[in-house]
Amino acid sequence: MHTTHVRRRRRRGVTYIEVMVAALILAVSLCAMASMWYFSFNMSGNTDSKGVAYAIGRHALEEVKENGFRYAAEGTTTLYYDNSGGGESTTQQNSSFYQVTVVVTSDKLSTSDSGASVPADDALRSVVVTVTLLQAQGSMPTGTVVYTTGTYLARSGV
């Protein structure tokens, strides 16, 4: 009788091993969840950065196209934006999050009578827009090139 009772008591209830296994599973799972959460958090940050970088990069290229072959400024132009893509500035601020570099290069240049450098009529002008992170975002460290695009401009081109 005593033996049977003891055996029954041992079978019933939460055993130390059961708690340990559950704790182990929970610990491993929480690690995985934390990792997953961290991954998702970073991905969201990356997505956010790419979306904003794409928008301001495209804006920069369209602005060059709007100026056109004749009037797009030759050389490098740098602009800064905050993390929402606003707050455009020609100088870097504490809130600056993105740096947009527009490089316009002509394979043939001429000069006006005022000495200004202007594209030659038969030049092919390349436009390269680069958007760089000034602050770490998501899994991307500072200095990461988030978006790059470019095109050519020609006299009477599209």
Binding site: E18, K50, S112, A120, S126, G157
Partner: protein, 502 residues
């Protein structure tokens, strides 16, 4: 006992609860992870689609520049249907930008054959980056040799007197300014040369381009026309000779002073041609009533000071719409005759189609009222090309256009073109108004124009050597471009559209 009973009923519940919690939480996190990844993919795809489009447009601009660099070089265009010795589609990229583009040209519409200038063309370009491909197509057309400049001296420009040019003024060489009142209502452009315009006035400023403009020779232009008209490519440099014997001179009507029905009151209703200006006959010569430098032609009244009218749209003349009728030409000029001059009135009809009549002469000898020679160019009926070519008899003799020249559509600058391929000087003077383009360049040192007196060019005048005196007025109109003009470079015309992709 109670505790044992409770635990006994819930044995394994901790493990089960943990597993359920882990599974549910994992599913939620997996969903969030999938969402964030797909969101990132979408952001990347959007940027790639945009970048691919930019690359495709880069390809189009690349090709327009490539074709424009030398439109007479048939091997330069990157053809979708290349002929022997021609380039095929071109694949390129932009330094610093990932991806590439492929571009090619075809006829417009695409007929499966290689494209040649000066026809319109279709440019198709495909941009590719990170596996995303987008293709765009646009129509391209040429900018003609008369599209940019009102006045251009290629190898030599000397300005005396009081030239007035309303439009761009260009040169491949320094300008000699002996006069002090040259006025340019537009930019002065030095292409591939230094120089100054200090003695003149240029409202559009003075500009310096690094390269000389490479102008086609009249000989090459004649090759194009001869090839089009003959249906096969003529040997290089033989176009002018071909035009000398294959022209439209047979369309010309000539009236001389002994012919019937030629007096100052030509009222025969059986008219052949009419002009809204006054031909009259004095001392046996056909002349225009001219009271001097004020251009008071019969049938035309001038405004108070036409040379003050510097706007391109300013109307300088008030025509009284007097109609004169010419009947019974004394003869027609045959295709084999290449001379205009003497005491005659010549009428050069315009082509009834969009293809110009090509009149060819060895010599133009229109020396003003004293000789009694006058030319009526019926550009109202259609386009007219006049070619001046070298010959053994008249190759170096000066050509004169300083008499009486009338146009039936004086306000239309698109239907008269004169191409001078002689090494002689073309002397343009008098008081006539030329609505159209005059081009005299057949290689370095060949093609000279002397512009003096009071002529008005309502169009563009280009020559290897330009000399001016007197008070010529060059007025570049807004409607200069003609479909048959020869090309200088190519540009976007219209109809940008995406062909495939997305």
């Amino acid at each position: 006992m109670l505790r044992h009973s409770y635990l006994g009923k819930h044995r394994g519940s901790v493990l089960t609860s943990t597993l359920i919690f882990v599974v549910i939480t994992s599913l939620i996190l997996a969903g969030i992870g999938t969402y964030t990844i797909s969101h990132l993919s979408r952001a990347s795809a959007e940027s790639d689609y945009s970048a691919a489009m930019n690359l495709a447009e880069a390809g189009i601009n690349y090709e327009l520049r490539n074709v424009s660099e030398n439109i007479l070089d048939t091997t330069r265009p990157d053809q979708l249907h290349p002929g022997a010795g021609q380039n095929g589609p071109y694949t390129g990229s932009i330094s610093g930008v990932s991806g590439s583009f492929t571009v090619s040209v075809t006829n417009d519409p695409d007929n499966g054959k290689a494209w040649f200038a000066p026809g319109n063309m279709l440019v198709t370009a495909t941009g590719t980056t990170n596996g995303v491909t987008r293709t765009v197509r646009c129509r391209g057309s040429r900018r003609s040799i008369f599209d940019n400049y009102s006045f251009y001296g290629i190898d030599s420009t000397t300005i005396n007197g009081s030239l007035v040019a309303d439009g761009s003024f260009g040169t491949n060489s320094p300008i000699t300014l002996d006069g002090t009142s040259a006025e340019v209502y537009g930019p002065v452009v030095f292409n591939g040369t230094s120089g100054s315009f200090n003695a003149g006035e240029a409202t559009g400023g003075v500009w310096y381009q690094p390269d000389k403009i490479s102008w086609p020779t009249v000989s090459k232009l004649a090759d194009i026309v001869a090839s089009q008209k003959s249906g096969s490519t003529v040997p290089s440099g033989t176009g002018l000779s071909w035009l000398r014997t294959h022209n439209d001179n047979g369309q010309i009507m000539m009236f001389n002073e002994t012919a019937p029905n030629q007096d100052s009151t030509l009222t025969d209703p059986t008219k052949h041609y009419w002009v809204s200006a006054g031909f009259s006959k004095q001392s046996g010569d056909w002349i225009i009533s001219d009271s001097g430098s004020n251009k008071n032609f019969s049938g035309i009244t001038t405004d108070t000071n036409p040379m003050d009218s510097k706007g391109a749209t300013t109307q300088r003349y008030d025509q009284s719409a007097v109609t004169y009728t010419f009947t019974n030409p004394s003869k027609t000029v045959s295709q084999g005759e290449q001379y205009i001059g003497g005491a005659q009135v010549y009428i050069l009809p315009g082509s009834p189609t969009s293809t110009p009549y090509n009149y060819y002469f060895d010599e133009l000898n229109l020396k003003g009222n004293g000789t009694g020679c006058a030319i009526l160019i019926d550009n109202a009926s259609g386009p007219v090309n006049i070619w001046l070519g070298p010959s053994s008899d008249y190759g170096t003799s000066t050509d004169f256009l300083n008499g009486v020249i009338f146009f039936t559509a004086p306000g239309d600058s698109t239907k008269f073109r004169l191409y001078d391929g002689k090494s002689a000087t073309l002397d343009i003077a008098g008081n006539s108004v030329f609505p159209g383009g005059i081009y005299a360049y057949n290689g370095s040192g060949v093609g000279s124009i002397y512009l003096h007196g009071n002529p008005v060019i309502d169009g563009s005048i280009i020559a290897d050597s330009m000399n001016t005196n007197g008070t010529p007025f060059i007025n570049y109109p807004t409607n200069m471009q003609a479909s048959n003009d020869f090309s200088l470079w190519y540009g976007f015309l219209n109809q940008w559209n995406e062909v495939s992709g997305m």
